[in-house]
Amino acid sequence: MSKEWYQSLSFEELCCLARKKGVRHIDEFSRKDLIEVLEEIQEEELTDHRQRNDIMRQKRTKFDIFRERAFDGDTEYDFEIPELYTHTQITLMLRDPFWAFAYWNINRIDLNKLKEQYSDLELFLRVYEFSNDTDSVDHVLSNFDIPIQESDTSWYINLPVPGRWYQVELLCDCMDADEKILKIVRSNLVESPGGYWLNHTDELRNNADEMELFLAGITDTSGIITDNPLVKMIIEGTQTKKDQKEYKGYSL
C-alpha cells in the first residue's frame, strides 16, 4: 500500500482502516495525521514480515486476495463470546524452547472470599523448573516468581534452560497473615526441547563427519543455516573463538 493509495481513500475509509489497526482517539486526527500513522503501522508490519521465515512469508500469499478491505461490511455480526470463564484454572503452552505462554481464569467468587479474609493480597506466578516429568519437589531444579495484577489474565514466561520441564503455580501472598502463601491453582507440565547434540557439542566439534552430516541437513545451498535457537546454541557450543569469526557469514 503506497502513500498514493492512502491518498485515494476517503477520510471515512481512513478512519475505518485506522480503527481496525488499533489506533485510538481517531477523532483527534487530521487526514494527514491518519495517513502518517497508517504508513508507520505498515512499516512496522513490514519489519515483522521480514522477521518471518520463508515458509511463513510465502504461505501468506495463499490468503492474499486483497490488500485491505477499506470498508468491511462483514464486521457487524453477533457472535458474542465470554471474556473469561468462571472455573479457576491455569494452562501453560510451550511456544518455543525459551518461551511459554500461560493463561488463567480465577473464579471471582473464590477470589472475593479470599479478599474478605485477607485485605492485603498480592497475586504472583511461581515458575518451577524440573529435571523430568515428575512434578515432585525432589526434582525441582529452580524456581522464580513473577508478580501479576488482578487484571492480568495471561503472561509470556521466559524459560531459562532448554531440555527441562516447567510448571507454573498461580499463588496468592496474604500480606497481612504473616505472609501466608496460598496456592490458587497449578498448571500442566511442559517440556522444553533439548536433544542429543545440545549436550554433546564436544563430540560434534571433534568429529568432522558428524559435523558435516549435522550441517548438511540445516544449511541451504548459499551456506545459510536454518534459524532455530537450539541449532544456534549447538553451533556456538562447537565453535572456538576463531571459528566464531569464520561462521559470521551464516545467518544464525
Partner: protein
C-alpha cells in the same frame, strides 16, 4: 556414485470457507484462485506426463477441509460463475489492449488459461477435481495422504489427546469417504510434531508422517543418517524430515527460484491497476479491489514498484534452467552426503501445493521440467515414502524432537500477542466437548445432531489458519469473526444441552451452512487418556 532419491510432497490445504448466506463472498476466492492457478494446472501436467509415459512419484496431501469444499455443489457452481466472470473480463481485456501487443498477448494467454480451466472443470471432472487426483493414485503415479481434520497445529493441543485423536480419526474417515482408500501417510499441519504424537497416529493405522528438519536433527539420539533417511519412532511409525537445504531452492524469498526477475509478479494485478468503473464487475462489492488473475508484469526487482512487462517465453526458458539447476543441486548434495551415510540419501522435499501456480506462476511448469529431467537422469530418482519403506523397512529408532516449520521452528506464529486470546476459548470448548461426551454418551435423533454439530464447531475453531491470518495482520476481521463464530456456536449448544433443550431452527440453519463432516460422530471426542 549412488543415486539421490527425491521425495516431493505437495500439501494442498485451505480452511473451510462456505457462505451460502451471501450471494458472493470474497474469502471463497481463496479456493477459486487455488483451483484455477494450482490444482487444475497441476492435474493437467500430471495427466499429460502419465499419457506420455514419463515415470514419476509424487505425494499429495489433501486436507479434509479442502476436500469438503472441492466436493461441495454450491462452491462448485460458484467456481463456474467465478471463471465465467474472468472469461468475460479476458474478452474485454483483449479489446482494451488491442493497441498494446504485449499486453494483448498476455490477455489472450490468460483468457485461454481460464477457458481451459472451465473446460477441464466441467468437461473432464464434472465439477469434482478430486476424481483427477484419484485416477493418478490408481495408476501409481501419486500417493494421496491426509492431514488433521481442520488443520490444527497439534502441539498446541497436546494437553487434550481426545481432541488430537479426533483430528486424526476424523481425517482418516473423511479421506476414505472422499477418496475411497485408507491413507498410510499423514501430513502434520505446519509440520507440528510433539513427542508422543506417534501413539495417536499409530492408533489410526498411520505408518509414516512428515515433519520439520530438526525433529530428527535435534532428536534425543544422534541421527545416524541425519535427515537423509527416515527414522522410526519407538512404536514403528516412520518419520520423514524435510531437507532444509534443497527445499530452500524453492521456498527462499531471498534467492529461491520464484524470485527470479523474469517470472511473473504476483502482486501487480489489473484488479488494482485499472479504473474502478471498468474493473468494478470483477472485484468485490462495494468497490473492494482484489486480484483478478490478470497480471501483466514481471518480478523485475522485488524492492521496486517499477515493473517490466512479463515475457512468458523468457520466463519459460528460465524454468528449464531452474529445473536443470535443481537436478544439479540434488546430484551435488547426493555426492557430498553419500560419503557420510551407508545408503543412498533420501531428500524429503515438502511444499505447499499452492506455491506452485498461485504464488509462483511458472512453478507448475518447473515441476514438469524437473520430473522430465529426473526421468532421464542416471544419478537422481523420484521415490515416494512408501516405496522407500519397502526398500528399507528398518530404520534407526529415535525419539524425535518437538518441531514445526514455523518461525524459528516452533509455534510463535500461532501463539503471539495478536492471537493468543483464542486458546482460552478453544481449550475450554474442547474440555466442554469431552464433558458432553461423558454426560451424553448415547444420544440419538435431535440431541445427537446437536452434539454432532458441537463437535464440528470445536474442530473448526482449532484450525491453524485463523491464528495465522490474525498474526499476519491482513484479513484479520474475517479470521476473528470465524473464531468467534465457532466458539459462540459451540457455547450455544453446550448451554442448551446443560438445560436439556435443543434449538431446532438454529440447528437446521447452522447445519446447512456448516455442512462439513456430515458423518461425524460426536463421540470422537471420547476415550480415556
Amino acid at each position: 556414485m549412488s543415486s539421490g532419491l527425491v521425495g516431493i510432497v505437495l500439501h494442498a490445504h485451505l480452511p473451510f470457507v462456505r457462505h451460502p448466506e451471501y450471494p458472493k463472498f470474497l474469502e471463497e476466492n481463496w479456493l477459486f484462485e487455488a483451483i484455477s492457478e494450482t490444482y487444475l494446472p497441476l492435474l493437467r501436467v500430471f495427466h499429460k506426463l502419465r499419457r506420455e509415459g514419463v515415470p514419476y512419484q509424487i505425494t499429495i496431501s489433501l486436507s479434509p477441509t479442502l476436500c469438503a469444499m472441492l466436493t461441495d455443489k454450491l462452491l462448485q457452481e460458484r467456481y463456474v460463475d467465478h471463471v465465467n466472470r474472468l472469461i468475460e473480463l479476458g474478452e474485454k481485456e483483449l479489446e482494451r489492449t488491442k493497441e498494446s501487443p504485449k499486453e494483448h498477448n498476455l490477455a489472450g494467454m490468460y483468457l485461454a488459461f481460464y477457458k481451459q480451466n472451465l473446460e477441464d472443470f466441467q468437461g473432464i471432472y464434472r465439477g469434482n477435481i478430486l476424481q483427477g487426483a484419484r485416477s493418478l493414485e490408481d495408476s501409481g503415479h501419486v500417493i494421496l495422504i491426509t492431514t488433521a481434520a481442520t488443520h490444527a497445529v497439534l502441539p498446541l493441543f497436546k494437553e487434550y489427546p481426545q481432541a488430537v485423536k479426533a483430528q486424526i480419526e476424523l481425517a482418516m474417515m473423511s479421506h476414505v469417504a472422499q477418496l475411497r482408500k485408507k491413507p498410510k501417510g499423514f501430513w502434520l499441519p505446519e509440520c507440528g510434531y510433539y513427542p508422543g504424537l506417534e501413539k495417536l497416529l499409530q492408533q489410526n493405522n498411520v505408518e509414516y508422517f512428515y515433519a520439520e528438519t530438526h525433529s530428527i536433527n535435534l532428536a534425543e539420539e544422534k541421527a545416524e543418517r541425519g535427515v537423509f533417511a527416515p527414522a522410526s519412532c519407538d512404536n514403528g511409525v516412520h518419520i520423514f524430515a524435510r531437507d532444509y537445504g534443497l527445499s530452500q531452492l524453492v521456498w527462499s524469498e531471498d534467492h529461491g527460484y520464484p524470485t527470479d526477475d523474469v517470472y511473473r509478479d504476483f502482486y501487480r494485478d489489473i484488479g488494482y491497476d485499472l479504473d474502478i468503473d471498468y474493473i468494478r464487475p470483477y472485484i468485490h462489492e462495494p468497490d473492494v479491489r482484489c486480484f483478478t488473475g490478470y497480471k501483466y508484469w514481471a518480478v523485475t526487482d522485488t524492492e521496486s514498484s517499477e515493473k517490466k512487462m512479463y515475457d512468458p517465453e523468457q520466463a519459460f526458458s528460465r524454468v528449464k534452467e531452474h529445473a536443470g539447476n535443481f537436478i544439479y543441486a540434488v546430484r551435488k548434495k547426493t555426492k557430498s552426503v553419500s560419503r557420510l551415510i551407508d545408503r543412498e540419501p533420501y531428500f524429503t522435499l515438502p511444499f505447499d501445493a499452492e506455491l506452485f501456480g498461485h504464488w509462483w506462476f511458472e512453478g507448475v511448469a518447473w515441476l514438469e521440467e524437473v520430473i522430465r529431467g529426473v526421468a532421464v537422469d542416471n544419478d537422481v530418482s523420484m521415490m515416494n515414502a512408501e516405496e522407500y519403506l519397502r526398500r528399507y523397512p528398518r530404520n534407526q529408532v529415535i525419539h524425535p524432537a518437538l518441531s514445526s516449520w514455523g518461525n524459528k521452528g516452533y509455534s510463535s506464529v500461532w501463539v503471539d500477542g495478536s492471537n493468543d486470546w483464542i486458546y482460552r476459548h478453544v481449550h475450554t470448548s474442547i474440555k466442554r466437548m469431552i464433558e458432553l461426551v461423558g454426560r451424553f454418551p448415547d444420544e440419538t435423533s435431535l440431541k445427537e445432531r446437536f452434539l454432532q454439530h458441537a463437535a464440528r464447531e470445536v474442530l473448526l475453531s482449532m484450525a491453524s489458519d485463523w491464528p495465522f491470518i490474525i498474526s499476519n495482520g491482513t484479513g484479520v476481521s474475517y479470521a476473528e469473526r470465524r473464531m468467534k463464530e465457532h466458539i459462540h456456536n459451540f457455547n450455544l449448544v453446550y448451554e442448551n444441552m446443560c438445560r436439556n433443550s435443543v434449538n431446532t431452527e438454529w440447528l437446521t440453519r447452522t447445519e446447512k451452512k456448516t455442512n462439513i463432516f456430515p458423518d461425524i460422530d460426536y463421540r470422537v471426542f471420547g476415550g480415556d487418556f
